[in-house]
């Protein structure tokens, strides 16, 4: 029986997607295990499995991109998948930079839930091919999605910080407590993540503005998405500044970072779906 290219591509995309999900689950199991039982090789296996999942997901995204001739942003499956992939990459980068694996269980759990959800929600088949918008636009979308992924990571790290702080003060220390990273490490990881997010967001916004200017000779300052994105820039910059001040350093800064993510979520969901006309892709 012959299978047409149109039938084969969704199969490839979903097949690779399921395999990457399987690797993320395996990675989560290993990360969760080392929280209770420290094991060097198990930790390395967790990181390798995560890297494997990221690689497979890359091929799934590549397959989708080849079909749409664009970064996968114009359908829910592609957009969520791109977000998860960038979240995985950002975490792996921070893990290597800070030499810290103990938050891997939380990040991979988020990845697993996210990808399982997108497989449930995603419509079968490939999305329609969007109109050609060029590489500048592709960078704009990718960088902004990367910024959201990095902010999501800083949210996870800040929540762990707050839990850890609460546990330290309550003096009821369970087994995983002794395996969690120190408050100082969590603080530095969250800040690194916000730096990555802010950098990506600034570059993404600049590219979006250039692209818009080239297209229409003007900017869309009044678009709700642009307004909320600028607000995100401000609140995260404020976090970076306040987290070094005497009054905010520590748990208060972590709480601020966690709350900032509410605006990111608002921008990614409600603004995209209901408020903006210009940034609504699906």
């Amino acid at each position: 029986m012959w299978v047409s290219l149109g039938e084969l591509k969704p199969y490839m995309t979903y097949h690779l997607g399921y395999w990457s999900l399987a690797l993320y689950i395996a990675s989560f199991i290993c990360y969760a295990r080392i929280l209770y039982v420290p094991h060097l090789w198990l930790g390395r296996a967790a990181s390798l499995l995560l890297a494997g999942g990221i690689l497979l997901q890359y091929f799934a995204l590549l397959e989708r991109s080849r079909w749409t001739h664009s970064v996968p942003y114009n359908d829910l499956y592609g957009s969520m998948s791109l977000f998860a992939w960038l979240l995985g990459i950002t975490y792996l980068g921070l893990e290597i930079f800070h030499r810290q694996r103990s938050v891997g269980a939380f990040v991979t759990l988020l990845l697993v839930i996210w990808i399982a959800l997108l497989h449930l929600l995603a419509p079968p088949g490939l999305p329609p091919q969007p109109s050609e918008r060029g590489p500048l636009f592709a960078f704009h979308v990718t960088l902004n999605t990367w910024a959201y992924a990095a902010f999501a990571l800083s949210f996870v790290l800040s929540v762990i910080y707050l839990v850890q702080d609460r546990v330290l003060r309550s003096r009821r220390l369970g087994t995983p407590f002794w395996r969690f990273p120190a408050l100082d490490v969590l603080d530095r990881m969250a800040r690194s993540s916000v730096y990555v997010g802010l950098g990506a967001l600034i570059m993404g916004v600049v590219m979006g503005l250039i692209w818009k200017h080239r297209l229409s000779g003007g900017y869309s300052w009044g678009d709700p998405k642009v307004v909320v994105t600028l607000a995100i820039l401000v609140v995260y910059a404020a976090y970076l500044w306040l987290s070094r001040s005497a009054a905010w350093r520590g748990a208060r800064a972590a709480l601020l970072c966690a709350l900032n993510f509410v605006i990111v979520l608002f921008s990614y969901t409600f603004v995209n779906l209901y408020f903006t006309k210009f940034h609504r892709f699906f």
Binding site: P38, L183, A246, G250
Partner: protein, 440 residues
Amino acid sequence: MGTAAKAERSGGAVRIHIALIGCNHRTAPVEFRERVSFTPEQAVHAAGELRERGILEEAVVLSTCNRSELYGVPGETGPAAAEAMEMFFTSFHQIPRAELDGRLYRWMGADAVRHLFRVAAGIDSMMLGEAEILGQLRTAYNQALDHGSTGPVLNRMFQGALEVGKRVRAETEVGARPMSVALAGVKLAERVFGNLKGHSALIVGAGAVAEQVVEHLRNRGIGSVRVVNRSYEHAAELARKMGGEAVAWESLESVVGVPDILVTSVGGTGPVLTREMLERAIAARTGRPVFVVDLGVPRNVSADAAGLYNLYLYNIDDLGEIVEQNKKSREAEIPRAEALISEHLSKFEAWRAAIEAGSIVDDLRDRFHQHRESLIREKLAEMKDVSPGERERIAHITEELIERVLEHPTQKMRQGGRMRGHLAGLDALRHLFGLDEEKD
């Protein structure tokens, strides 16, 4: 197989015997343990003498503050070997035999191996899961190895024990959580600051537990330590001992805002550090967290300081409770540690079985060849018309028959992993073929 096991051939078969005698903190009081302990030199001398006297073919003496144990591969089997080891133990330490009653334990074979593995894992220690015993065991073994007191059996056994010790600490929580107040304080500080290198500490008072805290901090590479005490001489003495800096009591308020870790251990009444002092200290640190360990009774730090932002305060009761929680947690890990010990014990027993099984095949082959030769001699003497060529063919065929018969059991028995749990079967085999009878 090396010389030791060869020398253990009794009744034609290689039998690996292992014996252990000793006492520990559970069986003997400290006064007795002091009398039967071995210095490193005495341990070497004792192991050598045990071998010279023919009591043991391989020997390792393990002596720590909580145990004195003799491990060996005896030439004789069973209680006789242990008896000889006990005699040696009493004569070496010049202790009347009667004093040993109930204080010395004896383990033979797999039980002795299991005991050693439990010791290496820290399960047999006074402080469950302590790390020091693994280093002490390694030192004792290396010393015996360097002086030629070990052989293939004890080498295998002690290397296995060191591996078990490492795995138990890496794969279970038996040794993970702090079990002393001082270490708990330092570990908690690590939960706030991460690596303590480059951080600073201020010790207020000069109590014994505070000294232990400083030692743990030093082991973790703390950047700088300052000591403040009412008596400047005491402060200077502790500072000198710990490589820190002594500060006058009057300067306490001016230096309290500098360190990341504060340890207080001052006798007397009333708090030494008030909420206001600590508030000023945190402000001076631009809000960077301060970790305070209050070891004083009555407390040295005002209780209301606990609510200060970015101040983590633990008093002696808090730390005591954490140690108690950790103790329970370590105890809950014992079954997992025991499972690892059983796994390694099975490996050791499989190795032992493979060695012993290999010797049975060799003995069976010898026995069959003896029968073959006598049978051929007897039968060919009756068969006068058989040519020399035919005689040679008959000899060749019978030889091949024996090899074919033994081919399968040889393969099976040399596969150590599959021989686990068949040691009793091997004994039956020896008995069945008369291999356990004394050779003429």
